[in-house]
Each structure stands twice: as C-alpha cells, then as structure tokens.
Symmetry: C2
Subunit: 348 residues, 2 copies
C-alpha cells in the first residue's frame, strides 16, 4: 500500500498545469484542467448566462485582452495584436493543454502526466454579431484556410499526438464566449474516438481493400435519402447510425486522408457547403446551439490509404443522460432519413 499511497498523492494544484489522468480500468484519458476552473464552491449557484456585460476580448481594440496572436489573416500594413485583422488566432487564456513542457509522469495503479500540447482560439472575425452562417462565403473560406495553416503547423510538432479542431456555437453547446470562434487542441496522446475511427477504417480496409468512407459515400449517393447537400467536391449527409438528431457529416467525395491537403479551390467549395449546412440549422431549427468537430489523419499516420477526413456538425438539441453515461451507447429518437429530408427542404 505504501507505493499506492505515493502514487495517489500527486497534486496538480502545486504544479498549476493541466494534467492528463488515465482511468485505471479502461485506460481512458481525462484532462484535469484546473486553470479553467472554478472551485467546487462555484457550483453552488449555477450561472444562467454567459457574461455579456463585460467587454468582448474578441473585438477590434480589445486585442490586449487575449495572449499575443500566433497567427492572423490581416492586411500587411497592420501590426500584430492591433485592429485590422480578418481572422485571428490566439492561445487560449485557460488552456486545457499547456505549451509549458513538463516531463512529470507517474505510473502504477494511477497513471498521470502533464497535459502539454497547445490550445488555441480561432476568432472567426471582428464582428460580434456574425457567425459562420451569416459571414459571407468568402470569409468562411478564410476561417477554413486558417484551420489548414494551423494543422500544417501543429502536425509538425514532435509532441502532437492528435490535433482536434472544433466549434462550440451558442452557450448551450459549451461555448463560454458568445463571439463566434473555433478552438484547436494539440493533444499529446491519440484520443479514443479518433483511435476507434482509425482502427475501424483500418480493419475495413484489411477485409475489403477499400476505404470505408469512400464506400459510405457511394452508398449514400445511390440511396440518396440521407443526403442533405452536395457540392462540386463534397457530400453532406446524415450518417446511417447517427447518434444525435440532425447529426450531419461532410466528406470530400474523393479519397483525402487530410484536411490540410485541401487546395484553395476545394476550401472555397467547402466553405460554400459548410455555410449552407449551418444556414439550414439557422433557418430550419431557429439558430440552435451546435458543435462542429473535424476528423483528420493524426501526425505521421502510416496508413493514409485507409483514412478520409470529415467534418461533423450537430445541433445541440438533446442531452446525454444516464443510459448514455452507463452504456456508452446513445438513443436517438429521430430517424436519420427523416432528418435529412427535413434539412434538404429548409430554405437557405
């Protein structure tokens, strides 16, 4: 028991860095990111609205409210961290993954390590009132070009196990700031969800000698009833085993393992279908909160022939409950074919 005691007694509050802890049974990683937190006492009264009374750190003139920018799309005659930018990338003020390298790890029953990596915010634009659904298509393309640049940069870092880009739109989606933005997480391990996708795609390829995503695209194009939208290069559809109402996937119709390999022409086409999809939510479902996540091949992935990047966008209309927490399965009370039909018919 002496050893166990020692293992238990690491205290992250001393180090002040986010920590990755591994579940001793399932080996699933959890980020304990106290810097983002509240003390337990803060939960006594739950806040009802995100703070909007204070100045927004994502508007022109408030650049000093964020850490210095790591990248921006801005006219060449403007200075970093001053107004004039179109899209701006800054480190998250309360990072879940810290760039401070700290080799501390523990082993034994309880495994933990410092959560080093990176955590950035992509500010979609200076206008507080606009979103990916209401910015012009050209501006949405600038945001996607920013993703591409950040993927290219982060994928090269030796500590990158996976790079996750997401949007939380609207307070109920988990967004802590109202102003439209994305987040980029550079994670030192390969998390379970992309691992399950990689393993599944690899297993399928071993049996069929084909990319499972390419087969899905063929099936959906032929069946047509789950298709939401199609552009020159992309297909948007509700997956056959959608976990949530109106869960929508967007994939390149051609086999493409990596988002960051998109050329400008493809990015502009993606901006079009992406914007149309979130406009379907806006006009059909009354601007619901939504979550977007991107799936792309991890750094140095050795089987690109099995992999196909995609974007998933899901309005936040339900909440996981005891069944989902206990089983890991979900109950979806809508039928994907009906959700697709509904979204197809929304006026955009």
């Amino acid at each position: 028991m002496k050893t166990l005691l020692k293992e238990c007694s690491i205290s992250i509050s001393e180090a002040g860095m986010p920590e990755l802890r591994q579940d001793p049974i399932t080996q699933r990683w959890v980020v304990i990111a106290k810097a983002r937190a509240k003390r337990p006492d803060d939960f006594r009264e739950r806040p009802k609205t995100a703070g909007t009374a204070t100045a927004c750190p994502f508007e022109y003139g408030n650049e000093s409210m964020t850490p210095p920018e790591t990248m921006a799309i801005r006219p060449s005659d403007t200075t970093p961290d001053t107004p004039g930018w179109l899209v701006r990338v800054v480190p998250n003020k309360f990072p879940a993954f810290s760039t401070r390298i700290d080799g501390r790890t523990t082993g034994g029953l309880y495994v933990s390590r410092s959560a080093f990596g990176a955590h950035e915010v992509v500010i979609h634009g200076p206008d507080h009132g606009l979103t990916m659904a209401t910015y012009p298509e050209k501006h949405v393309a600038l945001v996607l070009k920013t993703y591409r640049q950040r993927y290219e940069y982060h994928m090269k870092q030796p500590y990158a196990g996976y790079v996750q880009i997401i949007i939380n739109h609207g307070e109920e989606s988990g967004a802590s700031l109202e102003h439209s933005h994305s987040q980029i997480f550079v994670i030192p391990v390969l998390p379970e969800k992309p691992r399950a996708l990689l393993d599944g795609a690899s297993r399928y390829f071993d049996i069929h000698a084909r990319c499972v995503f390419c087969d899905i695209i063929s099936a959906e194009l032929t069946f047509a009833r789950r298709v939401v939208d199609e552009s020159a290069h992309f297909l948007a559809f509700e997956p056959f085993a959608a976990q949530l109402p109106f869960e929508t996937w967007m994939l390149p119709k051609e086999h493409k393992p990596r988002f960051e390999a998109l050329n400008d022409n493809e990015i502009e086409d993606l901006a079009k279908i992406f914007r149309r999809t979130v406009r379907r939510f806006l006009n059909g479902l009354g601007d619901p909160p939504y979550n977007m996540y991107l799936f792309t091949a991890p750094p140095r992935y050795e089987r690109p022939e099995t992999m196909h990047w995609f974007m998933s966008i899901t309005p936040k209309l339900t909440t996981p409950a005891g069944f989902e927490m206990g089983t890991g399965m979900t109950i979806n009370s809508t039928v994907p074919e009906e959700c697709a039909e509904f979204l197809r018919n929304v006026k955009i």
Copy 2:
C-alpha cells in the same frame, strides 16, 4: 452498388419498432427509437419545460395511465394496478427496447437489427414531491430491493446481453417526467462502456491476479483525500480520473461481482450511503439534476473474479461539447480531491 442500395433502404418506420444500427466504421451501436420521438419538425421550437400541467401518471389513482405493472411492492390485500403500492415497476410507454421479438437483421456495409429487449420504469413511490434524497432511508432500500428483483428476473432472459439501471433526476439530466423514477434497459448486445470496463478489469487481473476495483478501494482508503463517505459495507469516493465535477462512485468494500447478490443487510447499508450522497448534492449544490448508473456483471459472465459492481452518481453541471464529441476524451475543470473535500464537508 445494387447490394449497397438494398442494404440502405430498410425503413424502420414501416416496422414501427426501435432499431439497433451499427456504425460501419467503429461498429458502435446506436438505438434509433422513433416511437419516443418527435418528428424533425418538433425541434423547430424547443420546449423549455417538461409538461407538468397534465396529470402525473406515476401517482395513486393514475395507474391506468401506464402499461400494466410487471412488479410492485404493495400490501398483499391490494390489487395490481390500483393504489396502495410503495414501489411500482411498469413497462416504458415509449420503449427504447421492445419485448416484441422480431428477428429482422441486415448485414453488409450497414448492419442493423431490431432492438428487442425490455425497457421498464421503476416508480420510486407515490409521493410526487419526494426524491431519493428525501424519502426515508427504509423507502430507498425498497427501491434498491426492486432493482435486485428486476436484475434477477432480467438476467435470466435469453435475449439479455446487458441490463442497465439508471436514474435521471431533474429535467436537465434528461428526465422527461418530474416524478422520481429509475429506468431499466434490457439490451440485446453488450454495450461499449461495460465492455471496456470488463476488458480493462480482465486485463488487470491477468497481470496482477487481483481485482482492479479491490486495489482501487485499498488505495482510496489509504490515500483518503478522494473519499466522500464510508459505511459498514460501502465506500463512496471521487475517482482518480473523474470525467465530471463531483462524479461519485459507490462500491462494496468486499469483492462482489453482482449487485443482485446483495443481501438485505447490505441493501439497507447501501440505501444509507446512497441517500447520504444524494443529500450532499441536495444540500451542497442546490438540488442539481443528476444521473445515476449501475455497473454489474452481464448475464452468464465467465470471469466473476475480475468484476466488481459499482454505482456512479454525477450531478449534471456541465455539458459535453465539441472537444468531447470529437475526441471521446473529457476535460474536467475541477480537481477530484477538491470535489471530495467539498462533498465530505456538506451537512447532511
């Protein structure tokens, strides 16, 4: 493509039964339970409150509003489906798993099967205003004895792959009816979360020749900083890699693979510590919504020496966002040691 088309075109709306669909990439199962649903149109305007204006089907005198009871704890001079019961079990009116046996399955790229099984509701008691935190301890024990009886019954059914018991307390936890109740899901497959726990515990046992849960209990008792409460037979603590704020586990201190093997004495002791735990939430966190789930060995499990049942209770204070959806990891912005200290100090 012909075959693919055929596979895609199954339509569950015709059969009118819930359907299990498997994700073609990860092989994860999803329940498409249209009977519970709304049409896509119903999401245009999201309801803000659960219906409370209409009569509650879980009160005395309203027994005919539910399907006939499958079991009840009631005085022997009362008749089924009439008042007088203390705890009442009825089939869910909108089941996620149906008792109608229907052998329909499809294979190929898209795998699906009828979601047969069972889905019951345990009505905790007739009083609309009481909850597991405010019923007397003896009454809570009756609810736990009902769990035991239903586990014993369902585990014997040939179609039971897993039996999941849960509580959703409060609307934001996913509860659709306010009146305190549990749900029992009899699932024809072994879902991914219990499978991960079984596999992990089995792997640990292979290496250490000990139950991982027993080792966790020893470690927590020694370390003490994550302990919330302790009774004669049970330990309540915050797990080392807690995924959520105030996530609390309750385990029997002795090695016990199955909840349903508890004797009356142990059930009464569990009722005590369980009730105290939800009272900590009530008094310390202002009656937050919470989710409870039970984990126990599946039917006919061949390695009981590796397995140890537990109960997990977590207040619903956060919402999974894009990071969680994309990676399958969670970011917990609280420190389990601090949450345990907070809960320990709540006056119950």
